[in-house]
């Protein structure tokens, strides 16, 4: 079924690293932006902490979600380039299956998302109060799990988006409103009725809920509903993309 998955994944990692701009943009840029912003705003926020109660503790979730969304956009763009360039067409005539190709790219994206987040965590460690009991491993697992599920949204978009030029804006138009409604910036309960209902239908809301809960020390069991919804979304997206996947 997944013949060639590891070889293809390893190959795609090497190919990705060979494009310096891709690595700099994915791993280095977020860290640089993070460091610059924290230097610029560091002095003021330390005094204004009380006025922004949710912000410091939500920062890891915000960062993780932004990294996940950019991974989805990148996945969509790569698949569009592969389709437009006839690479998918050539792979089609081999025993490789569409899901092996998508899975390889998801693994690459997860790996580089993890690297980015580790780099950001190292860069931002002074923002975490000394002695705070942060569930790093559990939070890392929650981030990887929800990023994987969010990437499955990318499966569907990547399966149908026609051209590389169209891929990024299309992905952004789909994902950024989802992110806006996800409860990351405004609590879902504070949204007007219609938007609240919409937010509860969107998978990113559950990813935010899971990550935020785990970061604050909740158990996985208490977020079983979030996990179940994310798994369902993932299964649904995989099934849909299998039906609508276009090789050319």
């Amino acid at each position: 079924m997944l013949r060639g998955l590891w070889r293809l994944t390893w190959l795609e990692i090497k190919i990705f690293v060979r494009e310096p701009l891709g690595v700099i943009g994915t791993v280095a840029m977020p860290v640089v932006i993070f460091l610059v912003l924290s230097r610029l705003t560091g002095r003021q926020t330390s005094a204004a902490d009380a006025a922004l109660p949710a912000a410091p503790s939500d920062l890891p979730v915000i960062v993780a979600m932004l990294v996940a969304v950019s991974a989805v956009l990148s996945l969509v763009a790569i698949m569009a380039i592969y389709r437009e360039g006839g690479i998918l067409k050539r792979l089609r005539a081999t025993p490789l299956r569409p899901h092996t190709i998508l899975a390889a790219h998801v693994l690459v994206k997860l790996l580089f998302s993890a690297l980015t987040l580790v780099a950001l965590a190292v860069a931002g460690r002074q923002l975490v109060p000394d002695g705070a009991d942060v569930p790093w491993l559990s939070f890392g697992a929650a981030v990887l799990f929800s990023t994987g599920c969010i990437l499955s949204l990318g499966f569907v978009i990547a399966s149908v988006v026609p051209t590389a030029r169209f891929a990024q804006p299309f992905g952004a138009v789909v994902l950024y409103p989802m992110l806006g409604l996800s409860g990351l910036f405004f609590p879902v309960d504070a949204l007007p009725g219609g938007l609240q209902a919409a937010a509860r239908l969107l998978p990113l809301t559950y990813a935010v809920s899971l990550q935020r809960g785990i970061w604050r020390g909740d158990t996985w069991v208490s977020h079983g509903g979030d996990v179940a919804v994310l798994l369902l979304v993932c299964a649904l997206c995989v099934a849909v993309s299998a039906r609508v996947f276009r090789w050319e």
Binding site: G4, G85, K89, A93, P95
Partner: protein, 314 residues
């Protein structure tokens, strides 16, 4: 050859296509095409761009499902048995590319890992003249090198049938000749080659048999020589002479249909089978002083023009 087809099961056609039809929306790409490809031959599907060549080939490869008609490749149904078929065929697709920054060696190793019984990748690269480019990225290869790599990938699983779609389009004449030699080498190893081309010269030099396809229909099928004899029985001799009696001499020859031009350059048309011999006989018998002499024999290009009523490069 033809007799053994009836006496031996082993020489059943490798590919059998009957009444293949395929439309994209309202555009009919293939409108009822039937042909057979025999083991060990280079079979060419020729015709202009948009004639239905690639669609036909991709249906045979199992990459597209036909609307109707029957296809059998190595006894398999390309749609139903696509997995089994993929192990036994090799394909080079029109306008296919690889990842820009994949190396030649990585591509060959990836492809080798995808099939059950691959051949030695390094040996294959040697045969295709890519030994020195093994570490090169795909994007840095020349057009000819890219095509040779794509041919290598088509051969990695030691296929029984190799499909080559427009494999020399866009290549310079020298690279084209190198590829032709490689394709003849594939046949020499006992494999069947099914190719498409819109280059009549390529079909004429490379193919044992060709099927001419135009606007989704198969117009005729045969060896290049047969097709020329059948559709363009006329040949042309052009010679230069200052002898004023020459046109009359040539008009009187058997098989000559027209003589144009006057003293100077004379164009003689007639039956291809004996025109040249007749003209030479006439020149010798009447001691006509000829300062230049050339023959223009019909080619597949002329055949195409003759039977479709339009040039291939429309």
């Amino acid at each position: 050859m033809a007799q053994s087809v009836h006496t031996s099961v082993a020489s059943d056609p490798v590919i059998r296509v009957s009444d293949l039809r395929k439309a994209y929306g309202r555009t009919v790409a293939v409108a009822g095409v039937s042909f057979e490809v025999q083991a060990g031959e280079i079979f060419g599907l020729i015709g202009p761009n948009g004639a239905g060549k690639t669609t036909t080939m991709e249906c045979v490869e199992g990459l597209r499902a036909p609307d109707s008609g029957a296809i059998s490749v190595l006894g398999l149904d390309p749609v139903r048995d696509v997995r089994a078929l993929q192990e036994r065929i090799g394909v080079q697709l029109q306008e296919a590319q690889l990842q820009k920054r994949i190396t030649v060696r990585e591509a060959v190793e990836l492809w080798a890992a995808l099939y059950r019984s691959p051949v030695d990748g390094d040996a294959l690269l040697d045969q295709l003249g890519l030994r020195d480019r093994r570490q090169a990225w795909f994007m840095t290869l020349s057009g000819g090198q890219k095509q040779r790599l794509l041919i290598a990938l088509a051969l990695i699983n030691d296929p029984e049938v190799v499909f080559l779609d427009e494999l020399t389009t866009g290549l310079d004449p020298q690279a084209r000749r190198t590829i032709w030699d490689l394709v003849r080498g594939i046949r020499a190893r006992g494999k069947t080659v099914f190719l498409t081309t819109h280059l009549m010269e390529e079909a004429e030099r490379l193919c044992d048999r060709v099927a001419i396809i135009d606007r989704g229909r198969l117009v005729d099928l045969g060896t290049p020589a047969e097709l020329v004899r059948r559709h363009c029985p006329a040949a042309t001799v052009v010679l230069v002479t200052s002898d004023p009696d020459a046109p009359a001499v040539f008009r009187a020859l058997a098989g000559v249909t027209s003589v144009t031009g006057d003293a100077g350059t004379i164009t003689i048309r007639g039956r291809a089978s004996d025109l040249v011999a007749e003209v030479i006989r006439g020149v010798a018998a009447h001691q006509i002083h000829v300062t230049d002499f050339r023959t223009e024999l019909p080619t597949l290009e002329d055949v195409f023009l003759e039977i479709t009523g339009h040039a291939i490069r429309d």
